[in-house]
């Protein structure tokens, strides 16, 4: 692995500002002209415990966390933690150092806070020996002492950044600018002092024996650093969404928070409610009354939404739900990513229920597909769901600012105005035939809104007549059911024929071997395919976003063109592979699974290794924490 890239890992205790420090440093790297990608690892607790953030920066497009890392800034565990906790968790101060060493690349750099970690502790983990074996360059620095001297020990993060900048030969200018944006007064002054002193002390004290330097680059256009949650929230804003209801649950809370913070300034409404049944039901109520509404949750909370989801389907009330997956089952691992709610999201809710499901694979797709989800929902009066995971939710990437420069779309789709309602079909009592099957096009029967003249009807979760009355007549049932089902066919046709494909393709079209993935594993797969093809293999890949309705034609074509394919996803049971086999039954024998479900996202090298074991070598077990499930019949 060449070191034309920096993968900087800052490790410490939860609650120590690891996140905000890394966010600022990532932005500084971006402002210096580099492409950046962040990966966050944290435990499900408020203070203490081992947490880290990785920032990958290079003078080229970066779409994944990369393999391992090459710079460790180890800060020590939370000083703000209750000392009594030690009884339960042991001595965690050393963890930000000891827990991270396995993934540090050969020749990498280690900076640790000598003010927190004693020499005995360092000896106990054989740091010296391991550093020699791996050619690591170790720089102990009293970061806490330095921070304390100028301000408060919480500022040791800044000292760490100063040391980093010195060791990587970076200018301090971007870091200072960001500090000025984030703080002021004495706090700012103290931080600037600490930054400079750490920088200079490092340069004075050490002869650098490492080769790693910060890469340099230049952006032609202005860049913004944002997360998948930002992209979804902003996509919703541009789509005209002005109502959100929710209940906090990691990692969905991010989208909920971003919209709650912005809506008051935009005339939107945010409601934090008693539970997720209520949350999704509120979205249904707001949409029924004429506002573009969304709700969402993570797996366990989404389970409660299956009721209102079915209600939205039966009453043909457009809503957008987001499902931000974390490792399951049940409450699972709250802060760890997994792609294991796919089958649940596709099939939840009783009856022949229908919904549209998109699984964006990166930040740009998250923005675009959120807009699309609103458009489809309001055009076809059907719930749409965005399924993504804790990884995409929390990772940050730089995106060209111009990417967002487009018109807002507050259009309510197939909703009638009062003038249009005058022309619409009514029954003998003057009720609007809201669920009319005679005049429906593509299964869509345009709707009215409460308050509109001439639009009175009843929306009900029971099977209903054209004006909405409960109706169990067999002919009506068949007409209504077929009309609702027709919408999904029409959506598939629209996605195939009128729009650019939501699927993302990699590699050479004529390649022999295929890799198929979905959602946030996309970036790692893209990089793995590049690497495999550079090594002389013949691999192409597709990352699928349309989960329902399924792009049968596209995937059939892809699979027909390869000898075999490996399905890469973060779960233990190969859920997406199951979907592929259900949708494209004849290809079961071509599919192998590469699965990872240990709570960490794929690294590109693991996918390369999975391919090598599967296709090239065959005879060895993979060393990484992945599992291979052979093809049907193998």
């Amino acid at each position: 692995m060449s070191d034309d890239e920096l993968i900087w890992r800052i490790a410490g205790g939860s609650g120590d500002g690891i996140d905000s420090t890394s966010q600022n440093f990532a932005k500084a790297l971006m402002r210096s002209g580099l492409d950046v990608f962040t990966h966050r690892h944290y435990p499900s607790r408020i203070r203490g415990g081992h947490t880290y953030v990785e920032i990958r920066a290079a003078d080229r497009d970066v779409q994944s966390r990369g393999d391992g890392y090459n710079f460790l800034l180890s800060l020590g565990d939370s000083f703000a933690r209750n000392p009594q906790e030690e009884a339960y968790y042991g001595n965690e101060e050393i963890k930000p150092l000891s827990e991270n060493l396995d993934e540090l690349r050969e020749g990498g750099i280690i900076v640790y806070d000598a003010g927190l970690v004693s020499d005995e502790d360092v000896e106990a983990i054989n740091l010296e020996e391991r550093a020699e074996e791996n050619n690591w360059h170790v720089y102990p620095m009293d970061l806490r002492g330095l921070a304390k001297e100028h301000g408060r020990e919480v500022m040791r993060n800044t000292a760490g950044v100063g040391v980093t900048a010195a060791l990587l030969d970076m200018e301090l200018e971007h870091i200072e600018d960001l500090m000025e944006d984030a703080m002021s007064g004495d706090v700012l002054e103290a931080n600037i002092d600490i930054l400079h002193e750490a920088y200079e002390t490092t340069r004075d004290e050490y002869e650098f024996d490492h080769e790693l330097r910060a890469p340099t680059g230049e952006h032609e256009t202005e860049q913004a650093l944002l997360s998948g949650s930002n992209a979804i929230a902003y996509g919703a804003i541009d789509a005209g969404c002005r109502f959100i209801a929710g209940y906090p649950m990691t990692p969905w809370t991010d989208v909920f928070t971003i919209l709650s913070q912005n809506f008051p300034d935009m005339g939107g409404i945010s409601e934090q409610v008693e539970d997720e049944v209520a949350a999704a039901a509120l979205a249904v109520g707001a949409s029924h009354a004429g506002v573009k509404a969304m709700s969402g949750s993570s797996g366990g909370g989404f389970a409660l939404m299956s009721e209102p989801l079915g209600l939205a389907e039966m009453t043909e009330t457009p809503i957008v739900l987001v499902e931000s997956m974390r490792a399951g089952p049940s409450t699972g691992m709250p802060t760890k990513p997994e792609q294991s709610d796919l089958e649940f999201v596709l099939y939840t809710s009783q009856g022949d229920s229908q919904r549209v499901v998109f699984a964006p694979g990166n930040i740009q797709e998250a923005y675009e597909q959120t807009r699309l989800a609103f458009e489809i929902a309001w055009d076809y009066q059907i719930p749409t769901i965005l399924i993504y995971d804790q990884k995409l939710s929390g990772e940050n990437m730089n995106v060209d600012v111009d990417f967002f420069d487009r018109e807002p779309a507050p259009d309510l789709g197939s909703t009638l105005t009062e003038d249009e309602l005058k022309e619409a079909a009514h029954d003998a009592s003057g009720k609007f035939k809201r669920f009319d099957y005679e005049n429906a096009e593509d299964g869509v029967a345009p709707r009215s809104l409460p308050g509109q003249k001439g639009g009175r009807y009843l929306a009900t979760g029971n099977e209903h007549s054209p004006v909405g009355h409960i109706e169990e007549d067999p002919d009506n049932r068949v007409f209504q059911m077929e009309r609702r089902l027709e919408k999904l066919e029409a959506i598939r046709t629209e996605l195939d024929e009128e729009r650019e494909s939501n699927q993302t393709y990699f590699g050479d079209e004529d390649a022999d071997y295929g890799i198929i993935t979905w959602g946030s594993s996309q970036g790692a797969v893209e990089e793995a395919i590049e690497r495999l093809n550079d090594d002389g293999h013949s691999v192409r890949g597709v990352s699928v976003s349309d989960m329902m309705p399924f792009p049968e034609e596209e995937l059939t074509e892809f699979l027909a063109g390869v000898e075999e394919a490996m399905v890469v996803e973060m779960n233990a049971t190969g859920q997406f592979r199951g979907v592929l086999q259900k949708e494209l039954g004849q290809y079961g024998e071509k599919l192998t699974s590469l699965l990872k479900f240990n709570g960490n996202p794929f690294e590109p090298a693991e996918i390369v290794e999975g391919y090598e074991v599967n296709v090239a070598d065959e005879d060895r077990e993979p060393t990484a924490q992945v599992r291979i499930e052979p093809a049907a019949g193998d």
């Binding site: 002005r242 509120l282 029924h288 009354a289 308050g451 009807y457 009843l458």
Partner: protein
């Protein structure tokens, strides 16, 4: 154009407007108390000056859930226990709508109990009518949260070991700002109470006693009833929380013994509704959000105005 210009027009409103001109006819059993709720709503709505198009009735599941099939307003027949969250959001999205939520005792006090507590707590500006017949009717006679202790049913054959829920007291504790109990057998009082509830600016909870002649034959049919406002035996200040609480407790105690007390129990005109509270903290737009989508001049803020903080 505004899509909502029906609202606010002045004209005489005929109660027949609230009766569907064609099917469906009510499927409730002969003698069912639910007819009483339907009738009092049909009487009350024209008297408070609402046209059918200005009203959204949101119901849950059960016999009570069919209310809006027989009442010719805009309607949303939701799912078991979920009428309130749907109704709340519709009111927030378009505060000009007259929102009336309705459901049964199983629906509203059982499966929807959590929503009831929180809707009352937030004091949403709406009317909530609970058809309380102390039984699950549509699923054929199971014990409900308000069934008396010892009530025998197919699911509790030895008699219920549970003390019945106290809807009035629960409502007061949760924060409802208008609380009354009426009965289907008392149409004049029912109409007046429903009128007041609709006109009340806040969460108005009406516990509406409705007899179930089919599944609750043993239960009292709520006659004779006593109107606490008309009777000299009861004197309390309906604006005084403590006095109202005491009166509610007595009412709920004596109902178990067969004495039916009805009337207004608590009215707090000073407590701001949720709509007002939400506007006060700047979280609810002044004009109905729903109208904005039909306003060609509306300025829609864009996400990329927010991007600056990310650059």
């Amino acid at each position: 154009m505004s899509a909502f210009n029906a609202i606010g027009e002045e004209r005489e409103i005929d109660r027949d407007e609230f009766t569907p001109g064609v099917e469906p006819q009510p499927t409730w059993c002969p003698g069912c108390g639910d007819f009483g709720v339907l009738k009092s709503l049909k009487q009350a709505l024209p008297e408070v000056g609402k046209t059918p198009e200005e009203v959204l009735t949101v119901t849950g599941i059960g016999c009570s859930g069919k209310l809006n099939s027989y009442l010719d307003t805009y309607g949303f027949h939701t799912i078991h226990g979920r009428s309130l969250p749907v109704a709340r959001a519709a009111k927030l999205a378009n505060p000009e709508l007259e929102v009336i939520a309705a459901g049964g005792d199983g629906d509203g006090y059982g499966i929807g109990g959590n929503h009831f507590i929180h809707s009352a707590r937030e004091n949403h500006d709406m009317t909530y009518i609970v058809f309380n017949n102390e039984i699950f009717g549509l699923t054929k006679g199971q014990t409900s949260p308000t069934s008396p202790k010892g009530h025998k049913s197919k699911t509790q054959p030895s008699g219920s070991a549970k003390t019945p829920l106290r809807p009035l007291s629960l409502s007061l504790t949760s924060g409802a700002s208008y609380i009354a109990r009426t009965a289907a057998v008392n149409p004049n009082q029912a109409k007046e109470i429903i009128k007041e509830a609709i006109e009340h600016d806040g969460f108005a909870h009406v516990d509406f006693l409705t007899q179930c002649p089919t599944w609750n034959k043993d239960a009292r049919q709520y006659v004779p009833y006593i109107d606490v406002q008309e009777s000299d035996d009861y004197d309390f200040d309906i604006t005084d929380r403590a006095e109202a609480a005491e009166m509610m407790r007595e009412t709920e105690d004596v109902l178990n013994e067969g004495t039916v007390l009805t009337g207004r129990y608590y009215v707090d005109e000073d407590r701001p509704s949720y709509t007002q509270e939400k506007k006060a903290v700047g979280e609810l737009p002044e004009d109905p959000l729903a109208e904005r989508y039909f306003d060609d001049d509306a300025e829609w803020e864009r996400s990329y105005d927010l991007l600056e903080r990310h650059t």
